[in-house]
């Protein structure tokens, strides 16, 4: 309860954070209820079925965003694609944050040669050009599932989170309150969980947001060049279809514009959350005018 009011206060004091979170919340809600929305759009027919409607219908009252080359409703496609894109963001963001946090805490708290080995390893992964490798990997792995792509992307995105969090752990572990916990018989794991972790929540949040964003755009990148996982439609694949079929020349502009607008919004929202969190927890970035 106390934490909840603190969070609410933080959000109230930072318009950037509030706007970013609001946009995210709407998107997540749309994604969660996407099966229902799709059903609502289609009525008795499944709007995502091939040849559900006429092909290349222009936007109108029946089909707000028109239909695509197979006669599928674009609005329904966009809604379910948003859900897929957010899923990949959540999967990859979660994996890379968890891995990054564990590596960062072990390296930062234990120090010594463990830190040396882990930091060198993260450093190596950090400088590998990710996207060409992802292309190569997905070209080899035919019929990969969404989850597998998420894992593939997070292999390369956890080092970012690990680096930033490790630096924070290094600065926090020599605080006197850690010493006090040690003379109060607290174990290492307990110190990490109760003394360090709460102070690092904003950094972990930022790490999650940026890896999720990286994963979403990584998948869009793969889909746009036609190398995405099979069987699912994400925002990138709609763009791919639009480019491939020359949808713009056929008047089906929503197929191209709407996914891009959604991705831009998502990018803006996550960045606003990042910047907002940083402003809240880094006083040097706060305006000088005060409240």
């Amino acid at each position: 309860m106390r934490i909840l009011t603190a969070v609410l206060r933080t959000i109230r004091n930072s318009p950037k954070l509030a706007i970013g979170l609001a946009i995210l919340l709407v998107m997540v809600l749309v994604a969660i209820f996407s099966p229902l929305i799709v059903k609502g759009i289609g009525g008795s027919t499944d709007p995502l079925e091939l040849a559900a409607y006429e092909r290349w219908l222009v936007p109108g009252p029946d089909h707000l965003l028109g239909t695509d080359q197979f006669g599928r409703d674009v609005l329904a496609m966009v809604v379910s694609a948003l859900s897929v894109s957010l899923q990949i963001g959540a999967i990859a963001g979660l994996i890379s944050t968890v891995v990054g946090v564990i590596v960062a805490f072990v390296a930062g708290y234990k120090g010594g040669w463990i830190d040396g080995v882990l930091s060198t390893f993260t450093g190596i992964l950090l400088v590998i050009p990710t996207f060409p490798l992802l292309i190569a990997l997905s070209a080899y792995a035919k019929n990969v599932s969404l989850f597998q792509v998420g894992v593939m992307i997070s292999i390369f995105s956890w080092p970012f989170a690990a680096k930033t969090i490790r630096a924070q752990v290094l600065s926090l572990r020599s605080r006197p309150y850690v010493d006090l916990a040690r003379v109060s018989k607290a174990r290492d794991l307990e110190i990490i969980a109760t003394e360090l972790l709460p102070n690092l929540l904003p950094f972990i949040g930022v790490g999650f947001a940026s890896s999720a964003l990286g994963a979403i755009f990584g998948l869009v990148g793969l889909e746009v060049i036609g190398l995405g996982p099979g069987g699912v439609i994400d925002l990138g694949q709609i763009i791919f279809n639009a480019i491939n079929t020359g949808a713009l020349t056929l008047g089906a502009w929503p197929m191209f514009v709407v996914p891009i607008v959604l991705l831009t919004l998502l990018f803006a929202a996550l960045n606003m959350v990042n910047i907002g969190l940083e402003e809240v927890y880094n006083p040097r970035l706060r305006g000088v005018a005060g409240e």
Partner: protein, 295 residues
Amino acid sequence: MKSELELRGVEQRFHARGVAAGHITAVDDVSFTLAAEPPQVVSLVGQSGSGKSTIARNVLGLQKPTAGSVLYGGKDIFKLSRSEYDEYRRDVQPVFQDPYAIFNPFYRVDRVLWKAVKKFGLTTSRSKGLQLIEESLRAVRLEPENVLGRYPHQLSGGQRQRIMLARVHMLRPSFIIADEPVSMLDAQVRKHFLDILLDFQREHGMTTLFITHDLSTVYYLGGEVMVITKGKIVERGPVSTVMHEPSHPYTKLLLDSIPQPDPDNRWTNRITVDELEDQEADAKAAAPAPETPII
């Protein structure tokens, strides 16, 4: 229960780049014994960088010395059995220098006291625990209702440092390792704090290792004093003797560095530590190396 804390030839090195030897020696062959009986105050005086805080970390088991050993009840503190370790932890407690950084800003200050209650098994009942906490807060002249439920930033430095004393009061250790506890407090709060320490010595039989750079607080506390410079203890003895008849040039320097409260007597003829090097060599030749008496 009552035992001894002994440092035997403790040496602490730290890796350092850009130093000829590749390391710096923060603590160099330091030996002394703190006895719990009779309770006493032993001050450790030295300038910043002389190694006094490192000694505190060694004694508290936060830093394993490179060589030598810290013995509690005759046993190395890094090789204690489970039950011995529990007893050592309970019996040797710190008061740290910085009253701001000692509290985790995420939690209310009560947590530090509750942790002590739970971790050291003082009591299992909540009401009894609260009673203990309030009693200890009153013992350090804090009103429980003014501090409990507050966050660290809502309290003054003196209040926070006294909460640390309340924690010590609850645990009743035989040894308090106080690492510059008053250096960040103003003069009035400082006296208050020192009085509480002396009370603890008298009423609860706690022996304090008082680490400081400030000779006036040493004088106020009385007892024994050890003077440390560059990781070595160069002089030790009762406060009155050391203050009035310092034998080591560094002690003289420290004493000379206390500004006189006299506007006509300007603070001019100070010697600096660098000049001391030569004198120190002379002194070494002249005076025999100090023994390691049991204080």
